[in-house]
Every structure is written in C-alpha cells, then in structure tokens.
C-alpha cells in the first residue's frame, strides 16, 4: 500500500508513530468517517473513543502501510458493529441521521442541508457500497487502500464504488427536484 493520498502528511518510509501523533492527526477525520459510515451524531464521540482505544492497543503491532487506511479500517469495523447493534435496538433506529447534523458555527445552512441529503441517500445504500464510497470519495483514500480497509478485492471495491455513485447521483437528483 502506498502513502496515503488523504489529508495527512507523508509516511514513506514507514516509521511507527506514537499514539499522540496518530490521535492529533486523525481524530477530527475519524469523527467525520464514522458519521458518514452511519454512526448517529449523538454516538460519534463514543464510537470514536472505541476506535482510538483499538488504535492505542494495537499500534505496537503495526509493521507498515498507511496509518490513515489502518485507522479507517478500524472505523469501518466499529461502524459496522454500531450498525448491527442499532438494528438490534429499534429505539436507536428511530433517530434518523438526516436530522442529526446541525449546521456548525463554521458552516452555513445550505451546506448543512446538502449534507443531510447526502446522509439520507447514504443510509439507503448497502453497507459495503457505502463503506467504499465514503472511504474513497470523502476520506480520500486510494482505491487500493479502500479495498484493504474494507477487506475486499480491488475489483470488488471498484464495482461497489460505481454502484454507489450511480445510486447516490440518482437519489440526490431526485431530492433536489
């Protein structure tokens, strides 16, 4: 796996980072990743804690590769667990994500509205397509990193990406009309 193409710096050749550094570079984006992977706004911080506890526990086992892709892989697993538990608890499922994200102080209402529509459309996707789309289009991973983070072959990741794009474009087109 090559260097990450996302928002963080160069990591080639691989040097095992300290937890503090990983946290400071990834925490803000982990929150976003979890949110678009289907974690309700009210639970994002809790699930983010779980993600970084795993990072803290397993960082010493890391031998190479993209830290960002590795952290996103943990996000995918944590979000998957969260979604499963949410399905088991109908009272949580009642809180739909499209009403969960408020406009932040750095944000305008129009962007918040667009994001709500995107979240609603994402929530209608199959989980495997959603994971690939979010990691590639929002988190900026490469396709090979995305495939690794989601645990599928590269060609499968491509198929999921194109399928997700098609469905989302259709959904947003319908929502804007």
């Amino acid at each position: 796996m090559g260097a990450p193409s996302g928002h963080d710096g160069e990591r080639d050749p691989f040097r095992k980072p300290e937890f503090e550094r990983v946290f400071s570079e990834e925490a803000a984006y982990v929150g976003r990743t979890l949110r678009y992977l289907g974690v309700h706004e009210a639970h994002v911080e809790d699930v983010a804690q779980e993600v970084f506890l795993v990072v803290h526990r397993r960082l010493s086992e890391l031998t190479g590769g993209s830290i960002r892709a590795w952290v996103r892989q943990i996000c995918v697993h944590s979000a998957s667990n969260y979604r499963r538990s949410k399905k088991r608890r109908p009272e949580d499922a009642a809180a739909e994500p499209d009403s969960a994200i408020p406009a932040s102080q750095h944000d305008d209402a129009e962007n918040a509205q667009v994001r709500r529509r995107l979240l609603a459309a994402l929530s209608a996707l199959p989980d495997d397509q959603r994971d690939v789309f979010v990691l590639f289009e929002i988190e900026g991973l490469t396709m090979s990193e995305t495939a690794e983070a989601t645990g599928c072959p590269l060609q499968t990741a491509y198929a999921r990406l194109y399928s997700a794009r098609s469905k989302l474009q259709e959904a947003l087109k319908g929502a804007s009309q």
Binding site: Y36, F52, I138, M143
Partner: protein, 197 residues
C-alpha cells in the same frame, strides 16, 4: 494512484457539491478533547485494575504462605502450646482487597491490622492439644474465600444486617469445619442485634 478514477469531489455534479460540503464536517476541538479524555481514562483503567489485582493477590499469597509455614513449624516441633491460630487470622486480614471497603486497608498496613482485628478469635478457638493441626487445616483458598465473605459480612453488619446474616449462613454451609466459626458467630450475633426491633 494513477488507476484511481476521478473523484466526484472535484466535479460540478450535485453529488460533487455534497461531497465538498462534507469536508468541513469534522469533529470540533471540544469533541476531540472529550474523546481524548475518554480514551485516556479507559486506556489507563485496565492497567490500574491489573496492578491492584496483582498486588492484592501477592498480599494474599504472602500471608497465606506465611501462615501455612508457621502452622507447619508448629506441627513439626510437636509443641501443643505453639499457636496454631496464626492461620486463622490470616485470611481475615487479606480480605479487604476483595471487598469494597469504604476505607480499605493498604497492603503495607496488613500486618499491623492483623494484630488488632481478630486476636481473641485465635486464642479461644483452637484446642491447644490438637495433635496434628496441619492435617485438619482447610485449603488455603477456602480459608481466604471464607475470610473475604466474613469481612464483607462484618462490613454490612450495621447497614444491612439481614445480608450480613445471610453471608454468615452461607459460610456455615460452605465451610462447616472452619476455624473461623467464632468470628461467624460474633457477626451473626451482632447482625441479629441490629435486626431486633
């Protein structure tokens, strides 16, 4: 990576616009601080618990081994006046680590606490002329378990005498031949006094 498809984020489609809107949607500094505090607390908690558990186990082990050795020496010298009671005092002293005492006894204070807490039990309990005290000793872990239960009972004797009495009866069932029976009786008496109208 060159084989990656163009990202919609860079395009003019409705979806591209939505993706651009997500880029500023990150955790706030306050939220990051909360997440970090939670991670620090949870990451530190298992280590602290492990240390405390190890310490309490070491204290238990040291006291039980010491008591066993004393009993063995007493038996091997065949001196009936040698206090067999050492073993009976030990478990009660180590039990605080297993029970949620409001004022737990630090490990370093264990020997001092032993001298003040249960002295009378020993002197009156064990027959001095018992020829083979080692053979009749209950297993060390049983003594330790009973000591822990009795300590919990003693802790509850004023606040929840019914529960304390139940714990004593549990000890009577589980450890019928225990040398801690005087302590059991004492706790039971106190519990009944508190239960009395």
């Amino acid at each position: 990576m060159s084989e990656d498809p163009p990202r919609l984020l860079d395009g003019d489609s409705e979806l591209g616009r939505a993706l651009r809107a997500t880029q500023g949607d990150v955790l706030s500094p306050d939220a990051i601080t909360r997440v970090k505090a939670g991670v620090s607390a949870k990451a530190a908690a298992p280590a602290a618990a492990t240390s405390a558990s190890m310490l309490s186990k070491l204290v238990v082990l040291a006291v039980v081994v010491g008591a066993g050795t004393a009993v063995y020496l007493a038996a091997s010298k065949d001196e009936p006046t040698r206090p067999v009671s050492v073993a009976t005092t030990a478990p009660i002293l180590v039990a605080p680590s297993a029970a949620p005492e409001p004022t737990p006894i630090p490990a370093a204070d264990q020997p001092a606490a032993s001298a003040t807490q249960v002295p009378a039990v020993v002197a009156t309990d064990v027959p001095r002329s018992r020829p083979k005290p080692v053979a009749s000793q209950p297993p060390a872990d049983a003594v330790t378990r009973e000591g822990a239960i009795l300590l919990e009972a003693r802790r509850l004797v004023e606040t929840d005498p019914a529960r304390a009495l139940m714990l004593v009866k549990q000890c009577e069932r589980d450890f019928p031949n225990s040398q801690l029976s005087p302590e059991r009786e004492r706790i039971a008496t106190q519990a009944k006094q508190h239960l009395a109208p």
